[in-house]
Every structure is written in C-alpha cells, then in structure tokens.
C-alpha cells in the first residue's frame, strides 16, 4: 500500500465529507461557525483592549474561562468511560461506538487548550510555554505538567482516532499493535490529566477552599459524570439525526456507570460540606460564601443550589426503574447532571477560591457579556470539531467513504495487508 498516495486521498475525502451534507447539517454548521466567530471577535477585542474588558480583577483573578477549562478537561477525561468497557471488559457493542468517546476526548482537549489561551494576558508570548523554545519550569510548576499531560492526551487520541479511521478507509482491519498500546496508555493518561488539573488548585496553600486532598478524587468522579452524560446525549442525537443504527446496549452500559458516579459525586460534595462547616473557623468563609452567602454577598448561592438540585434530581431519575425502559427520562437526567457538574466544577469551584481574598476582602465576580461571548465561541468551536469527526467516522464506518484503488496497480497484492 502506498501511503504517500492514499493518505492525501484520505484527507481529501475527509474534507469532502466534512463539507457535504443536507440542509440540517449546513444549518447546524453555519450556526456553530457564526457563534465561533462571535467568540473570535470578542477575544480579539480582549487582546487589544486588555483583560480588563472582562469582569475579573486582582481579587478574583480567574473566572469563567478557567472554570470552563476545568470542566472541559473533565469532559475529555470522562470519555475514557467508553474506552474502559470497550477494551478492558471487551464489551462488543461498546467497541463499535467507542470512536465517539475518542473523538469527544479530542474535541474537549482542544476546547480546554483554547480556554487557557484566551485567559492569557499575553497570547503573543504563548511560545514561552513550548518546551524547548521558552523556559519550561518543569517539574516544579504544576501548569507545565498540565501542558505536558494535555498535549500528550491530545496526541494519543488523535493517533487512535486517525489510525482507526484511516485503516477503515483503506478497507483493512486495524492492527492491534498500532493502537491497543495507545488505548491502554490513554486510559491511564485520562486519569492523569484530571489529577494534574486538580493539583493545579489543591497545591495552593494560600487558598484553603482548594487546598484539600479530596479535590483530585472529586475531579475524577465528576469527570465520570459529565463524560458519560455527554456521550449518552451524543449517541441519541447521532442515531436520530444521522440514522446510524446504534443499539441500546452501550447506552445502558453508560447509564449504569452514571448511576454510580452521580451518587459518588454527591457523596464527595457532602463530605466536603461536612468538613467545612462542622469544624468552622475562618477557612469556612469560602464555603459559606458559596452555599449561604457571606455578609450580604451571595452571587453564587443560586448557582450552587441549582447544581445540587440538578445533580440530585438526575440521581433520582437514574435510580428509578422507569429510566431503564424509557430512555427519554435518562436523557433528561444526563442533561441535568451535565449542567449540574458544569456549574459545580466550574464557577462553583473556581470563584469561591478567591472569595474572600487572601486578605479577607469580599469582592465578588460575575462574568460579563464579553466573557460569555468568548466561552460560547469556544464551545461552538469544540462542537464543530466533534460534529465533523463524527460525520467522517459515520461515513467511513458505513462504507460510504472508501479508498478507491487506482485500476492498474499490479505490484500491490491487496490481501496481504502487512505492516
């Protein structure tokens, strides 16, 4: 097989498939593109006018961007909850759709990286962060670890997705040795990305709200809520809109996982709340601010109670017997808990770390319109990546996107395959 010729053909056909579709597809993509451009525009204004155009301040110096960064890292890690059943437990039905999880990992990591980049005061100097080019403060700075693990996770998943799709495109069976080791690596790596991201916060002794050993476990568990929840919804959409015959089995596996992780997540939040409030003292201030409000400042109170309500309702729905037969109920639960975790691990985690400040000043933060535009733009960009990935995968798996062998190539025996 001549890869020099077939790989460009693969890319060409992929671009073709990615830009071809019916009106629903075009409408969806136009909408996403428009939103992404709104985000680009807002970011461009921010770069020129300064980060002061956001609602952040020296008191609350990270906001909606880092909140979404944290959440999307979790989303990427959560995708592994398809990979484990598919490859470790050899779940055949899951194996057939596991590419959805791998593509989600790619899209979510791209979003996470975008969220960090829009948070930089000097994006023109982002190259200072490149190992080898700049001055990489490794291994001391946790942020350098995050660069390594996020970059690595992106590359691993790009390789897995790319390899699986390309071999199918060629009409071959993927060879285990070219992807299985990477799949195993990606499982361990998924845990690492979210652990390191938790350490980013929990390693700061001056911020008692984050400085807790339970943060990393909490991050992992909530990732295993948001990831499967998103995938369940995505699978439902794919089989309705793209008319791909996906059986219920993988959905039930994911819902089975969710039933446990949603509860575990609530349990961890409960443990945290108990420890904070029962012992009291000044380190409870942030938790009080978050859950009850502090000295008349209570901007986050409605957020966190919404999150808790959503997560609790989702847990009840998932545990009820009816959700097993009526999948639309499970869909609602997934949507609820997805939003719940987004709040809890986004705004609900980042902002109280800064309120009250280290000198105990109470300065609040609510994202402003510019920040929302940037955030919506990045989500749209992530969904573009995800949609295109899924579209290409669907076409390839359905055999509609196939390598057309040139008629005369006698020196290449097709069947042998080989390395």
């Amino acid at each position: 097989m001549n890869h020099a010729r077939s790989y460009p053909a693969f890319l060409r056909d992929a671009v073709g498939v990615a830009t071809d579709g019916g009106w629903p597809f075009y409408t969806w993509m136009t909408l996403l593109t428009a939103l992404a451009l709104v985000g680009v525009n807002a970011w461009a204004q921010q770069v020129v006018g300064g980060m002061g155009l956001t609602a952040m301040s020296d008191h609350v110096s990270w906001g909606l961007y880092i909140a979404n960064f944290t959440f999307t890292v979790g989303l990427a890690a959560g995708a592994v909850m398809m990979v484990i059943p598919a490859y470790i437990y050899k779940d055949k039905a899951m194996h057939d759709v596991v590419i959805v999880g791998e593509l989600l990992a790619v899209a979510a990591i791209i979003m996470a990286l975008l969220f960090v980049n829009v948070d930089l005061g000097r994006p023109d100097r982002a190259w200072h962060l490149m190992p080898g080019l700049g001055r990489f403060h490794w291994p001391v700075s946790m942020l350098t670890w995050d660069v390594v693990v996020l970059g690595g996770y992106l590359l691993i998943n790009l390789h897995i997705c790319g390899y699986l799709l390309y071999t199918r495109f060629l009409g071959r069976r993927p060879e285990k040795r070219w992807y299985l080791p990477f799949v195993m690596l990606s499982i361990a790596w998924a845990v690492s990305i979210h652990t390191v991201t938790a350490f980013l916060f929990s390693g700061l002794g001056g911020r008692p709200f984050w400085n807790t050993a339970i943060l990393a476990p909490r991050f992992i568990v909530s990732a295993f809520v948001s990831g499967p929840a998103f995938i369940v919804l995505a699978l439902q959409v794919i089989r309705r809109v793209a008319k791909v015959p996906i059986p219920d089995a993988p959905l039930h596996t994911l819902l089975g996982i969710l039933r446990v992780t949603v509860l575990l997540n609530l349990f961890f939040v409960g443990s945290e709340v108990f420890t904070e409030f029962y012992s009291g003292g000044s380190h409870t201030a942030s938790a009080s601010y978050l859950f009850l409000g502090l000295h008349g400042h209570n901007a986050l109170v409605p957020w966190i109670w919404t999150a808790l309500a959503f997560n609790s309702v989702a847990a009840v729905i998932l545990l009820s017997a009816r959700a097993k037969s009526q999948l639309w109920l499970a869909d609602i639960a997934c949507a609820l808990t997805f939003v719940g975790v987004w709040i809890e691990k986004g705004m609900g985690l980042i902002i109280p770390g800064f309120v009250p400040s280290t000198l105990h000043e109470l300065v609040e933060y609510m994202p402003n319109e510019l920040e929302w535009r940037v955030v919506v733009g990045i989500w749209a960009a992530g969904l573009i990546v995800f949609t295109l990935g899924i579209k290409i995968a669907v076409e390839i798996f359905a055999g509609r996107m196939r390598h057309q062998l040139p008629d005369a190539e006698p020196d290449e025996p097709q069947a042998a395959g080989g390395a």
């Binding site: 830009t19 071809d20 593109t33 428009a34 451009l37 709104v38 680009v40 525009n41 461009a44 204004q45 770069v47 020129v48 006018g49 300064g50 980060m51 002061g52 952040m56 301040s57 020296d58 008191h59 110096s61 990270w62 960090v116 948070d119 930089l120 005061g121 000097r122 994006p123 023109d124 100097r125 982002a126 200072h128 962060l129 700049g134 001055r135 990489f136 403060h137 001391v140 700075s141 946790m142 942020l143 350098t144 660069v147 980013l200 390693g203 700061l204 002794g205 001056g206 911020r207 000044s282 201030a285 770390g353 800064f354 009250p356 400040s357 280290t358 000198l359 105990h360 000043e361």
Partner: protein, 300 residues
C-alpha cells in the same frame, strides 16, 4: 455532473463567505501592532540576555516610553549587591494607617493613575485581634481611629515563594539579595502566581497603565518601576532601583511615624538586624511555610 459543479460552486461561495467573516471577526487585532515590535516579540528571558542584548533592550524600552507616554526616562538594569540580604520590618505599635506609604509607592513605581494602584494595602483591624478576617482596607475616616490598629501588607519577598514555584515559564524568580522579581517582557499573564500568593501581593495589568508624562518617575529599572506593559504581572520589588544603589524604599521614606525599618540583614550594625534581634517579631500566615522577609513587631 451539473449537480456536482453546483455543489462545488456553493462550497466555494461558503468558504469565501466564511473567510471574509473570519477576517471581520479578527479585525480588532489590527490595532494591536501599535504597541508590538518584532524585537519585543522575539525577546529572550532576562537571564538569557547578554550585556549587549540588555543595552539594546533598555534603549528600546526608553524609546517606547517616549513614543507611547511622551516621557524621557532612563531605564537601568540594576543588579544585586553581593553579600546583601534585604529584610523589612514594620512596627505595628506606631503605624497610624495614614496610607502615605501606599501613596509613595503609587508615585515611585509609576502605577496606573486611573485605578490608583499601589503595592501596599493597609488593613484596619479592631483592637484585640490580628485576624485579617476582622479587617478592612476600605476605611474612609480620620486616622488613627480609637480602638483600631493598622496593618500595611505588601509583598513579603518569601524565601519559599509559592508565586515563584507555580510560574510555568520562570517569568518570576528570587534574586540573590532576596527580592522576588518579574520579567515584564517574559510573563504571559496566566495569573497563576496571583492565585498562589497568600498575601494579595501581586497586581495584574488589566489595561495598559495610564500615566501622564509629567507624573512619570524617570529613574527606572528593568526589573522594577519602568512602566509595565498591558497583560503582565507586577509586584513590589523593595524599590530595587533605589535600594540596590544604597537608598531606602520610597514607602519607608514617606512614613511619618517611622514604623518602617529596612536594610541588609547580613550587616550586624544595621537597624533591621537590631529589630530582628531585640523585638518579638512575627510574620503573616507563618503556618503556610512561605518564610517571608517582611516582619511585623510591636513596641512592647
């Protein structure tokens, strides 16, 4: 065939529209290069600049200050003095909370006028406590007020500085004389250090600082009070452009009560040494293990 070519035309049209929309969205960036030069974009880290590089950078920065602010300034690369370890102490018994130190810092260090920025925050705390949670910085009445005491807080130049550890690109570090500095031309503005500092000592340049030409202090250093660019972190440098030349920090000179004591802790005859040896000093949040070089003490 007809259909395919129509599709291709449509796709081309879509791509053109998309590209045009993208260019429109990015249009605000056109205003950016005003403050950006290629030299600045490619400038290396402070510690990687040769003597010659440094001279060129300093002249460029002086020129930029002239172009952008209309002020003629001298920017030096003032290096640490060997055998010097700076320390600072503050007598809480005599501080009256007048905030003259904060004001002096504002002027000396070319802070943004619009936000009245300063590296020093003065807390007013009810007597009977040194609990920060009991304090406020927003007091607005004649001082000293009965039943209140005052606690100025600025960078403690920690020997085990969390801000330095967390920086992903070594844009901030501890100098041999103990001062923690930032290379304003290397910092990417991630603000991780600001989250890590337990003393609210770091300041971010959310906007390009505003300051009129007449108000600019022309005596500047690369690592301290030169006018900072937008989007980077800054902090107290113990006025290294003064103290490394044998002068005292601006905040100390401005203090009307003599609450502030600064000097070389290695010099056995220095006042700071006397305070450290004879007074009961304490540091803020000692339990965090940051090992500050900024000490508080009471007279009795």
């Amino acid at each position: 065939m007809e259909d395919t070519s129509r599709r291709t035309t449509l796709k081309a049209l879509g791509a053109t529209l998309g590209a045009a929309a993208f260019a429109r969205a990015m249009a605000p960036l056109a205003a950016w290069p005003e403050d950006l030069s290629i030299d600045e974009l490619l400038q290396r880290h402070y510690k990687e600049l040769s003597r010659d590089d440094m001279v060129r950078v300093l002249r460029r920065l002086e020129q930029e200050t002239l172009d952008q602010y209309g002020a003629v300034v001298t920017i030096d690369d003032v290096r640490p003095i060997p055998e010097v370890q700076f320390g600072y102490a503050l007598n809480l018994s005599v501080c009256v909370g007048c905030r003259k130190c904060a004001e002096a810092c504002h002027i000396e260090n070319n802070h943004d006028r619009a936000t009245n920025q300063s590296y020093i925050r003065v807390l007013e705390i009810k007597n009977g406590s040194v609990d920060l949670a009991m304090g406020t910085v927003d007091y607005d009445h004649a001082v000293p007020k009965k039943g209140r005491s005052y606690m100025p807080v600025q960078c403690h130049q920690c020997d085990n500085a969390p801000c330095v550890s967390v920086c992903p690109i070594e844009a901030t570090w501890k100098e041999p004389d103990g001062i923690v500095v930032v290379d304003y031309n290397w910092c990417i503005g991630c603000r991780y250090c600001e989250a890590a500092c337990p003393y609210h000592a770091r300041r971010f340049n959310w906007h390009k600082p505003e300051i009129s030409a007449e108000e600019i202090n022309p005596d500047q250093a690369y690592l301290s009070n030169r006018v900072r660019p937008q989007g980077v972190m800054e902090k107290c440098t113990f006025c290294l452009h003064r103290t490394r030349k044998g002068r005292l920090p601006a905040c100390l000179e401005a203090c009307p009560t003599g609450a502030r004591v600064f000097g070389n802790m290695l010099d056995p005859n220095s006042e700071i040494r006397w305070v450290l040896e004879n007074k009961r000093t304490f540091v803020l949040k000692e339990d965090l293990g940051t090992r500050p070089r900024f000490f508080y003490f009471f007279d009795k």
